[in-house]
C-alpha cells in the first residue's frame, strides 16, 4: 500500500539499499575482513531499519510521536540516527584499541630493556671466561 507521504518507490529504494548493506556486511564477515563482534551492531541496526522500512506503519507511528508531518522525513531522520549510532560504536571500539596499543607498546619497551640487561649479563660473562 502506497502512502502519498511515503512513496512506494522510496520504500523500495530504501529496502534495496538496506538489503545490499546487509549482504555486504555478511560477505565481509564470511571473508573474515569484519569480525562478528564488531559487526553485531551493524547487523542489528540494519535489521531494525529494514523492519521499519518494510512495515511503514511503524514509521508512521514514529513520525506521529515525533510530530513529523511527512513519514518519509522520519525515514531520513532514522537513517541519520542509524549512522550516528554505528559511528559512535566504532569510536568506542577505537578507544578500546588505543588503550590496548598503549599497553602493548609499554610491554615492548619493558621487554626490550630486559633483553638489553640479559645481553649485558651474557657479554660480561663471556669476557670473564676468556
Amino acid at each position: 500500500m502506497s502512502d502519498p507521504l511515503l512513496p512506494a518507490h522510496l520504500q523500495w529504494f530504501a529496502t534495496a539499499v538496506l538489503v545490499a548493506m546487509l549482504a555486504w556486511v555478511v560477505q565481509l564477515i564470511r571473508t573474515q575482513r569484519l569480525g562478528l563482534r564488531d559487526s553485531l551492531l551493524w547487523l542489528l541496526s540494519t535489521g531494525a531499519a529494514l523492519a521499519v522500512t518494510v512495515f511503514p506503519s511503524v514509521l508512521r507511528w514514529i513520525a506521529s510521536r515525533l510530530s513529523i508531518l511527512v513519514p518519509a522525513n522520519a525515514l531520513f531522520a532514522l537513517a541519520f540516527v542509524y549512522v550516528l549510532v554505528n559511528l559512535l560504536a566504532a569510536t568506542i571500539a577505537i578507544s578500546g584499541h588505543s588503550a590496548r596499543i598503549r599497553r602493548l607498546t609499554q610491554e615492548c619497551t619493558l621487554l626490550r630493556a630486559e633483553l638489553a640487561a640479559l645481553r649485558d649479563r651474557l657479554d660480561t660473562r663471556g669476557e670473564r671466561s676468556r
Binding site: V26, I29, R30, T31, Q32, G35, L36, R37, L40, L43, R100, R103, L104, Q106, E107
Partner: protein, 245 residues
C-alpha cells in the same frame, strides 16, 4: 609423544594450586602451560610458584585469545598433542588419558571431553537446566551446519593433535570459541570425536558467563556458525606435510 596442557586462566589464583596439584598427580608426564590472560589477582605468581610454564599476557584477550596463545606455544615447541584444561577446577585431570587416547592412536585430530556422551554419567556436574537446553540446541545446530556429531560443544576440555594445533594457532574464534572452533575444525577436514568425562562444579569464584549472557551466547554462536567462511583448506595433510600456500 610430547603432550602440552594448556590452562587458560583469568583471576584463578584461588583455584590454580588445586588444579596444578591434580595434574601433577594424574598426568606427571605432561608439560603444563598456564596462560594468564592479564589477571589482576596474582594468578601468574601462583602458577610460577608451582614451577610450570607461565605465559603472561599484558592485555586481556578473552578465552579465545588466551587459548590460541597456548596453541601458538604448542606449535612453536613442536608438541604432538595439546590439551585444553580450565583453570577453575571443573575439568578432572583423571580423564586426561581418556581424552588424549584417540589422538595418540591417530583416530582423531580433535577430541572433546563431553559430559553428555554415552555412557552418560549424570553424577557429575552438568550445568543448569537452561544451559543444558542451550547445549542441546547448539549440538543440533552444529550438526546441521557442518555435520559434527558432538554432544557437548561448549566443553573446553579437549585434546588437539598436530593438525588441530596448526589450525588453531592460525585461526581461533574470539568470543565463545568452543562450538565455533569445532565447526572450523570439521570444515578444515579434521576428524573430531568425543569421549565421556565427568566434570566438577567450579570450586571458587564466579563463572564469567552469567544468566542473561547465556541467551547472548546462543544468539552470538548461532550467528557465528551461520556466517562461517565458505571454504577452508586443511592446515596439514594427514601425513603431516605443510599446507600448500
Amino acid at each position: 609423544m610430547r603432550v602440552l596442557l594448556i590452562i587458560p586462566a583469568f583471576n584463578e589464583a584461588a583455584n590454580l594450586p588445586e588444579v596444578l596439584r591434580g595434574i601433577a598427580e594424574h598426568a606427571p608426564g605432561c608439560d603444563v602451560c598456564v596462560v594468564d590472560d592479564a589477571s589482576t589477582d596474582g594468578t601468574s605468581s601462583v602458577a610460577l610458584a608451582s614451577g610450570v610454564e607461565v605465559l603472561r599476557g599484558c592485555v586481556n584477550l578473552g578465552i579465545g585469545g588466551a587459548v590460541q596463545t597456548g596453541y601458538l606455544w604448542a606449535r612453536h615447541h613442536g608438541y604432538d598433542v595439546a590439551v585444553q584444561i580450565d583453570g577453575d577446577g571443573q575439568h578432572d585431570p583423571r580423564y586426561l588419558a581418556a581424552v588424549i587416547a584417540p589422538v595418540l592412536r591417530g583416530d582423531a585430530d580433535l577430541v572433546i571431553g563431553s559430559r553428555f556422551a554415552a555412557p552418560a554419567d549424570a553424577s557429575g556436574f552438568r550445568s543448569t537446566a537452561l544451559r543444558r537446553a542451550g547445549i542441546r540446541y547448539l549440538a543440533r545446530f552444529l550438526r546441521l551446519r557442518c555435520g559434527a556429531r558432538v554432544t557437548d560443544p561448549t566443553s573446553g576440555f579437549r585434546a588437539a593433535g598436530r593438525r588441530a594445533i596448526e589450525l588453531f594457532a592460525t585461526t581461533y574464534p574470539s568470543d565463545y570459541p568452543e562450538p565455533e572452533s569445532i565447526a572450523v575444525a570439521v570444515r578444515s577436514g579434521l576428524r573430531v570425536s568425543e569421549v565421556p568425562v565427568v566434570m566438577r562444579p567450579r570450586q571458587q569464584g564466579r563463572s564469567s558467563i552469567g544468566a542473561l549472557s547465556t541467551l547472548y551466547y546462543l544468539v552470538k554462536v548461532s550467528l557465528a556458525l551461520l556466517l562461517l567462511p565458505r571454504r577452508m583448506s586443511p592446515p596439514l595433510s594427514r601425513t603431516g606435510g605443510g599446507a600448500a600456500s
